[in-house]
Symmetry: D4
Subunit: 222 residues, 8 copies
């Protein structure tokens, strides 16, 4: 009625599914496992996929007890409850890339989110700019993509280079990978914000979910 279901400690946004083409995701950090489990259970009454991000194994255990259909993607720390699948358009590819192996969990969070929204996703991992030939060898895939998600820590330069190669939107995700003066993703974040390549925009550090969702929104435009 009001556009949300009231749980007392949470208001589940039922209006958002229509509004945004996707149900409200649950951000697990700061919520108890029991709170998450209650929210998932309530959402499971609906018809949309459910996605819980930053979920610990302990949270998954609590969720799984109330909602046995829930699956857990450990490295991406995602809980997923799947409903009816959408057949993706094979010609509109979202390409998710990483600079290094350590960026993969964030990239998977993005990729799975886009896939849940019904998009075809391809992955290219470990093509950081310090070995630019590894990236250039993938030019064909890069040019074929409709939307690109670039996850990189340390200096975050991959977003600029990719942004200069393509004429499609590039969503840059700084990751907290690195050490010393990477300051938990600050260096990558600043690098990406200062990219002089057109078409690049940035989401929060390690926010694979946000990137995957935005990629899906853009890829649905026609």
């Amino acid at each position: 009625m009001n556009g949300f279901d009231e749980l007392g400690f949470a208001k589940i946004d039922t209006q958002r599914a229509e509004r945004r083409g996707f149900p409200e995701a649950i951000f697990c950090e700061g919520k108890t496992p029991e709170q998450v489990a209650q929210i998932v259970k309530k959402m499971d009454e609906g018809e949309n996929h459910i996605l819980a991000t930053r979920a610990s194994a302990e949270t998954f255990t609590a969720v799984h007890k109330l909602t046995p259909a829930a699956e857990y993607h450990e490295s991406a720390r995602l809980i997923v409850v799947r409903k009816e699948e959408i057949i993706p358009d094979p010609d509109r590819i979202i390409l998710v890339m990483t600079a290094g192996t350590s960026d993969i969990p964030v990239a998977e969070e993005a990729a799975i989110t886009s896939e849940l929204m019904g998009h075809k996703v391809e992955r290219i991992f470990d093509v950081g700019v310090a070995g630019i030939h590894r990236l250039l060898a993938q030019q064909e895939k890069v040019q074929a993509a409709n939307v690109l998600v670039v996850c990189a820590g340390m200096e975050g330069a991959l977003a600029s280079v990719v942004g200069g190669l393509v004429s499609k939107p590039v969503i840059a995700v700084p990751t907290s990978v690195g050490y010393g003066a990477s300051w938990n993703g600050l260096a990558a974040l600043l690098g990406m914000l200062n990219s002089c390549a057109a078409g690049v925009s940035v989401v929060n550090i390690d926010n694979g979910f946000g990137a995957g969702r935005l990629a899906g929104i853009i890829n649905s435009m026609r």
Copy 2:
């Protein structure tokens, strides 16, 4: 005599109760459980409620041994020793709000503090600005409040929106909820300080106690 009781490692401010209408609260972090227990025991000789903030379970155990009347609010990490209750004025409501479920512990610290001071408190949780209809559905309660406490992490925008809706004082509490470039509450703090809504002032990150106390002080004015 001097306006304080000397414990060696602490000086309990006996003058403050008259001065501020409320006994000195105990900030537990950095004190040993034994130190807190001694302070509570000494204060318990007086007639005022006692409040210990940021209390661990271990600290509560030590306090409870010496002062069996003590209660523990786990999620808000508060220890309370109640004395004679004040009947609140039902027409002067302090409204405590949160942007998300994860902000509730800080909000409860504020709400319980105000209640101990003898005020009527109402709570509205999980009305962050990304789903503004959830907030607008509560307009009646919002307009009825005499003082408002708004707890929000991430971008902290709820304080600005609420500040623009009411003509009463809004106490904004940034919380350390968030990730990446929220920098443990910095983003919310800066957002709230820069609010262009009149009537908004800010307390320290996660300082529910300070907000609850200030709300009580303002709500007592007539």
Copy 3:
């Protein structure tokens, strides 16, 4: 041949026009007026619109001498040399919004950039969140937009609120408008990065050009 024209102090990227659907723009800060004038003159041999950002009046004078067709948008500090116009699609609207009057120069930089790329642009100015009814009064226009650009300084909260209202991509542009703890746009930048509304991504502080260009790229997808 190499995909660029060599001027010694600059390499004009002739390959980018094909690659990105738009010629390389000229960032004037740090270049002498004479350097900018030479670059514009060289680019004027081509068939694409030319755009020079952050241009001072002095730079425009130098450019105008060599390229009389150049126009100057003073508040947006843009120099434009127009070639054959593209007829915009009237059903695909890019909506450029500001929180305050002071954000208009950045918004105009975005709007003019998108218009030059052949898109229809609408503007809504001064709808900051401290008076949310001003925004809600524009709901129809907001819902009709295909891509949204939100320019805001101070706490930057408008991006979150707009992001929660629509199911289209929102490009957030923090501006350096504000004072004190806005730290020249830092507060707005952090607020926007931490937005919990899906579909929001962020460009550099005051980077109207980048936002306008990305809006155009996304609006061209079909």
Copy 4:
């Protein structure tokens, strides 16, 4: 109708006067003198006082041409257009204090704002904590105040000391006065946020207007 008057570059919030007991103030920075003059002229059709903050002499000249009744407070950089005066309640005093002489312009911005709202204001200047006897000599005035506004730069410690002396709300205004590691008000801001005195809340650096307005709102409660 919509609750605002549309000027194109600005939306004057006509609903706010009822909503907040005070007309929308104009923040002049980032607006051209002509824009401010237009806004003042439009607002002058109403019945409320008008206040323009951060106004340069040049802006005042433009305003004065269209609205001859406008006055200019140079050190506080305020433009005021007075309408019918409210008789202040002599028993409810807002006390505005400064740590040093250099903080006076910010303090005057606060004091004049409160006075325009119809409150009685007293001033105590130059009572910084490095000479605590200067403050203690004013104890009577300090205790008599209903709401206190404390403006201080450098280490900002005055807010904590005053907060510990009174049982009324203290609004702390960090100022950008200082040098070196004061970082334009950051040191004072952090000092005030970390005040362990109850009843203290903080507004943005140099935000005398916001403090004066909040003081007026609180002082009107009964």
Copy 5:
């Protein structure tokens, strides 16, 4: 010979004892317990007191095995090996003060260091500025001191107030006590650096040892 003993992983400065009137202290963090134990054992061949700071219980166990005369001050995390005592001058008092109970471990590090150097030390704990009467009640002791060490976290304002009361040197030690925007001592550090009281200088956050040593050096001057 060279003024140091070579241990391979460390060079013990034997020249410093003459040079500075005190042996080199050992900073334990980053050294293994075994390394510390070896250094203490080597130093024990000399005639000076030995002081090891930031020592864990585990480190003390290793030291005690090789040097049974070693004592451990747990809360101050100091290991001490005492040699022949110096009789302190009873008229030249170093006063060590804290704003709160949580600052005591740092204060003890300072006090014990000064005592080891042969000075008379007095302590006043928990006299933070939010209850200024607690400090003013100690005026006699404060005025009698020859050198003052002030340890405070949060806003660190005690140093300014004390600095304004006395005409002796005040050594300010910011502590990492606090939460939220205290940023692990940054707020206190900035507050102390910006103190407008003359005679105040600052050492590193939590550096009780450095403060105690400097107090001893100054107190030895005649």
Copy 6:
């Protein structure tokens, strides 16, 4: 009577001269030339030297008109009004050092302050650590000093090296000299705070006055 003279915009601390052995200095930034001139004139009725820091030439002109005995030290930006001179003790030398030529204005502010307090001051300029032989050539003077003031920008390392050479107190003054990542004195400030040499304490960036005053206080101890 109250220990201060009231000027309305300032309270001149007449109690401080007795309390601190030196009259209150005037910090000119943020005060109008007329305000400074009034304060100097009022103070000139007393018997102590007067010192105004951060004084512009314009301020001096205003002061000189009302107080013809005032002198101006241009590079140190000091205004001085001298009263009866104190004969310095020739055996207790305050040594003021700089790392570079650009640090001299700050050093002169310190040196003149100490001299006004009646101390003998020596100067050694341009002995930064990148040419350590220049410093070592001054060993005799360095060892002869009773108190040392070390002014350095950039990396500020001179304080650590000097601190390791002597057994007397070293007052470190970070200066804003440098560029790039010196961040206006931040690098030097952090370097000095982290000095592992005992006996080093730090004052605010460019605070030559504070250093000179503290040096005088310490040098007066016996």
Copy 7:
């Protein structure tokens, strides 16, 4: 073929060995032990030494199972797989120095890296600037070095002093050793970047590997 071996989660850069004279090192943080073990095993098919940095004991266990020839340097957290040794040139010495004992792990990371590249390395530990005679006693070794690596935490001043003594390149490695305002290496980093000694350049905080590698590259030039 493409210049890399594809493992799916990683692309091993086979072209880099030729290109950089050294195989790609493996940065272990953020990779699972199994991923590292797979990468090492794949690289072991080649003829170059293998180096894995920031390796936990758990990671070594996984690597050792698949590649028994692997050795572990615990304090430096390095895993090494040695192939045919290169005989170092005894006249071209890389000198690795530390300011303190706590900097040794980083220094060893640098030293072992250079040794693996076939260079002669000497070590001087614990010669921080607060006891400059310890450094000056090593002048002969310092002057004999061809390339110098200086590891220092806290204020990082050793790099400046060494840079002033020699006419060879100095690679400065800030370490995260320190406390309080060292901010995990920030103070040392800024100090080193601001060094006014010529010939000094800086790598990331704690990046012993990068320093050792660059030292080897420079030492190979002729």
Copy 8:
């Protein structure tokens, strides 16, 4: 004798020329034109080239009056006094590169410094990573270089890409070119420090002189 000439306000390091193969350069900021002129005149008695960095036109005028042989490089803000030229080795090339046109002044400071030291320098300007083909077109020159200096502002990514292409040392110079979240070179600095390409080290922001000098030192090794 002491290894320096004493001018009172400066100590000219005569020992450094032998020690470092190059005379002391003069950093002009913070020195008066007259001071610089005196220093240059004194140095002109020797046989080495003289270099004054960050020199204003006004400083050059003062220098030129006393030393007519001085030349001025306006965009690089360098004053040079040439003595006998060294014939460069044509096979050992220092390559100076920039990401954009705005970085050229810093690059020229580096290039001229290296040339004065007797090295052959080549320049490639405006090859930022957002148009990577412009860089790849220069591969031959890049591979031929013996030492590389890379000047870049904004995200500073060029250093990483170049570092990955070559097996020679890369000296990265962050420039203050950029806007918004480039924070005057901070973004580029962090990006370069976090480069995962081996062989890259970093100097201070805009420190073209330091880079040019280090390049010369390395290029002289054999």
